[in-house]
Amino acid sequence: MKIKYITLIFFSLTVFSGTIYEFTNDEDEKRFNDLIKDIRCPKCTFGSLSSSNAPVSEDLKLKIAEMVRENKTDNEIKNYVASRFGKESLYEPELSKGTYLLWFSPFVILLLALSIFIFRKKY
């Protein structure tokens, strides 16, 4: 009885979580684990779904597990989350006009600098 009382104090909001994620095969489970690492917890200042046990994170994880079981693609799942919680809930910024600079400039700079060094004129 005492255990039930204490746990109710601890977990009163999350008793409604339901069952946890069940997968029929390992690939699904791996896909799920990777997905929740790349999606931000909507309520936390920083941290992925994988690292959060806020109620909304738990709900979202259950929903994502369900979508993985339904064989939805990673993109479909990410779009689902982004359209409801914002693009900022994805840790991987999408490749768009506004992010070309982000994704490509490191390599461009590396190439440029290396070329300048290798082909420098000797004094």
Partner: protein
């Protein structure tokens, strides 16, 4: 060539630091407010009182949707404001979020009922579909499309800052 290099070395950090000055001084948007538009999600849930089935298509025209629960303390604080909205003739629909039905009904009889309609979202599936992260949260919906979303306690000040501009712009609640 050397001049170019020198210029680069000094101008890059300067522009970078300047950027930070600008960013630090910038006025942030109202925290908690979100104006992303999306369709009201499809749902099929019970009315809290009558247990009659409500669908997303039953929500017509312009209305306020409020996420609340009997276990949510801040909801008690914003409650009077919702009552006043209701008095002004603004339709307020409630989504009872992850709440026990009896607890919710008791809460309403104790504090008063500002809602024209209450959807019992026991599992929180509709709320999840709407991007809700907790209670209280308030949405402005127009013709099946969500046009504004505020996370947190709603009051006159928030109403004027977050919702009133959109209502004015789209000519709602006339």
């Amino acid at each position: 060539m050397k001049i170019l290099l020198k210029l680069l070395i000094i101008s890059l950090p300067i522009s970078f630091l300047f950027m930070f000055f600008v960013l630090l001084n910038e006025d942030k948007q109202i925290p908690g407010a979100d104006y992303r538009e999306f369709d009201l999600p499809i749902f099929n849930l019970e009315d809290l009182d009558s247990k009659r089935v409500i669908k997303n298509t039953d929500i017509k025209g312009a209305s306020i949707i409020n996420i609340w629960a009997s276990w949510c303390i801040t909801c008690q604080i914003e409650h009077p404001y919702l009552m006043s909205l209701n008095k002004r003739g603004i339709p307020v629909i409630g989504i009872n979020y992850k709440d026990d039905r009896d607890d919710a009904i008791n809460w309403l009889s104790k504090f008063g009922n500002p809602y024209q309609l209450i959807i019992h979202d026991y599992k929180g599936s509709l709320a999840l579909d709407m991007g809700v992260t907790g209670a209280p949260e308030t949405f402005l919906v127009n013709n099946g499309r969500i046009v504004a979303h505020y996370q947190g306690e709603i009051n006159e000040s928030i109403w004027n800052k977050v919702f009133a501009p959109i209502i004015e712009e789209q000519g709602l609640f006339k």
